[in-house]
Symmetry: C2
Subunit: 162 residues, 2 copies
Amino acid sequence: MRDNPSMEQTPAIQDHYPDDVSHCYGCGRLNDVGHQIKTRLTGKSTTTDYTPEPFHTAIPGLAYGGLIASIIDCHSTGSAAIFAMRRSGTEVGSEESPRFVTAHLEVDYLAPTPLAPMHLVGTEIEIKGRKVVVDTELSVNGVITARGHAILVEMPDGLIIP
Amino acid sequence: MRDNPSMEQTPAIQDHYPDDVSHCYGCGRLNDVGHQIKTRLTGKSTTTDYTPEPFHTAIPGLAYGGLIASIIDCHSTGSAAIFAMRRSGTEVGSEESPRFVTAHLEVDYLAPTPLAPMHLVGTEIEIKGRKVVVDTELSVNGVITARGHAILVEMPDGLIIP
């Protein structure tokens, strides 16, 4: 673990999504060219670590805002699944994970984000029925540069196009 | 033009950014592997047309939310520059364009977005000093699937890292 090397690393939620919902460019383990982010329960929060590519620039040296929004978005959907499983007393990895989609996403860009490894921490704000609200702090080198607020909804049946 | 073939196509704002702020993965003309979106003044609004790649999937057949946020974000920064130039009576292409960065981005995902050509329309909500507020509607095949709300700020001097 990044913050506490003595802690055992928990399973990544994205490794336990059903195959037919694992093609997301941001977080799908079956998308060979995507970001393939991994989100884990770390203590009471969720964490994702992601290293951008050199071409993910805003202006040289800084990460572009769309990438930041993308990583916060997929971290939030993963966090929602983790928090929903925790609420139901189910451990990540013990069965297929539920899959959440984003209804509303907000990002506050607090400061320029260096093009360097990003660390995201997600907090459960609310769970109500199929809806989960997640707040996220994105930091680089220990400095918080962006905050996310997302409303996620468990994926309805029938969304998958055969 | 998409909506009115008889209208003359106006210059894209991204083709007139200064070189040193033209490397954005979303909209920089000098980023060879990026999306290179183009935003134009079309009547009273701004428009961007973007065709996603086959791998930009959420679940198969649908575009992933991070891409939608990214394209809305860069469309909004471009729109802010266009609206600021309009306010000052300057035509896009007559001089180097101002460059805006995002302070706050919101996206409402109204419906699944098919993985197909996207059409974005931006509306000027407010201009106040260096701040511009832009709302965006993103549609595919004439159906609005996402709405954006962004607060953009003209890039401060000194943000560029040499």
